[in-house]
Symmetry: C2
Subunit: 242 residues, 2 copies
């Protein structure tokens, strides 16, 4: 596949301790798939400077885009912006345009723009801001790395702002058949079908519902004609065993 590739980096102790169940990765995955950008890897790391730096550098070198969530708030454990700056080897400081956004927001809400909140205006040199329509404090894009908030409502708003400016690929299409038998029944012929259509990917996802085994068969690809042909063959295959 020649679609652009992406990676997601989820940052935060609360994810790895099990306290918080991440939902941002699944949201981003769906949005990218719809735009023909293939999410090729996701990583979750704790609030530790070196771990964020290493992950950012590993991922930005391997994929067209990297999306991060978490760690850009006002508290001592919000260290993502500094870690991304370090990963790129650029300086970071409070930037006037980001500060102006925060000043306007806190004037409007009547809250104080204290030293902690001003940290949210720290932006690495060379970055462009990502708009935060929910709570003002911006994210930023540096090179191919898009740094966004962890709070799901803000993350989603930032994704909606960033994705339209990225180069997208041929839409990643998928079709699904639900079969009320275990995947072991259909695994053999399904594997043969996958060999006949090397440009498509065939997934088989078993489930147990009300005590009965079933399987969802998903075919993915970018060529609608091939996808249709594969689904016709798949229906025959499944029907023939019914």
């Amino acid at each position: 596949m020649t679609n652009p590739t992406a990676a997601m980096l989820v940052i935060g102790d609360e994810i790895l301790s099990g306290r918080t169940r991440d939902s941002n990765m699944n949201h981003l995955a769906g949005e990218l798939t719809g735009r023909g950008i293939r999410l090729a890897e996701a990583r979750m790391v704790p609030d530790v400077h070196e771990r964020i730096v290493l992950a950012v550098n590993a991922l930005r070198g391997a994929y067209d885009h990297v999306f991060t969530s978490g760690g850009i708030g006002p508290t001592h454990d919000d260290i993502t912006a500094d870690a991304v700056a370090a990963a790129f080897g650029v300086a970071i400081s409070v930037r006037d345009d980001a500060r102006a956004i925060l000043e306007a927001h806190y004037q409007r809400t009547g809250l104080e723009l204290n030293a902690a909140r001003l940290r949210m205006a720290r932006i690495p040199d060379g970055a462009t801001l990502i708009d935060n329509p929910v709570s003002a404090a911006p994210g930023f894009t540096l090179g191919n790395v898009h740094v966004m908030a962890g709070v799901p409502a803000i993350f989603q708003a930032m994704v909606a702002g960033v994705l339209p400016v990225l180069t997208s690929g041929a839409p990643l299409l998928s079709q699904m058949i639900d079969v009320n038998r275990g995947e072991g029944e259909i695994a053999g012929p399904l594997g043969e079908l996958a060999q006949r259509f090397p440009d498509l990917s065939f997934g088989s996802y078993p489930y147990i519902r009300n005590g009965a085994h079933g399987t969802q068969l998903v075919v993915r690809g970018t060529d609608a004609g091939q996808l249709d042909a594969a689904m016709v063959a798949l229906s025959k295959l499944v029907g023939g065993q019914g």
Copy 2:
């Protein structure tokens, strides 16, 4: 912290396409935290042999334990067992004890142990089996890598089987205060508190509920006395600003 460390590797195209929202990582995180094993990283990779091999080798070298989910079923895209064998440089073939488990299961259920299902008895040399009380097909432990199914009910049953035999650490304790104001209000004094208790970790998690900003403050550590002292100080800090 001297607690044992672990990593999770979630394997499957369906996770990265956004079709399926992973729940296994969050389940494992909670179970590990309760046993004093620190989940230090998670990765999600597609059903691609080289990608699984690289991730397994990176993680098993860096952490005390690695837990994988997904890719051990009967279909062509179930390639985890072969990839883990390749990562360790050991052979893999249908093993008698695993085959016996499948034979007994399929005799009991009246289904055929066909060639596809027999693939689930492929076990790398030197591995020990992990019991699957739900659908028989076993997982396995090879070195410090625990290979388990992706279906959540089976994954959870396998985790329950594996964890009791691992060396656990001092329990990772946590306490929480919910504050009905934005984290920017308390970020300064919270940071000072974090410096006073360097063995504890202080997390600050903002949320928006019914349009109002709030923050959950979480303190984590293994020393119950220190944790209590920090919570007293934190309550004063938050109360003093109320």
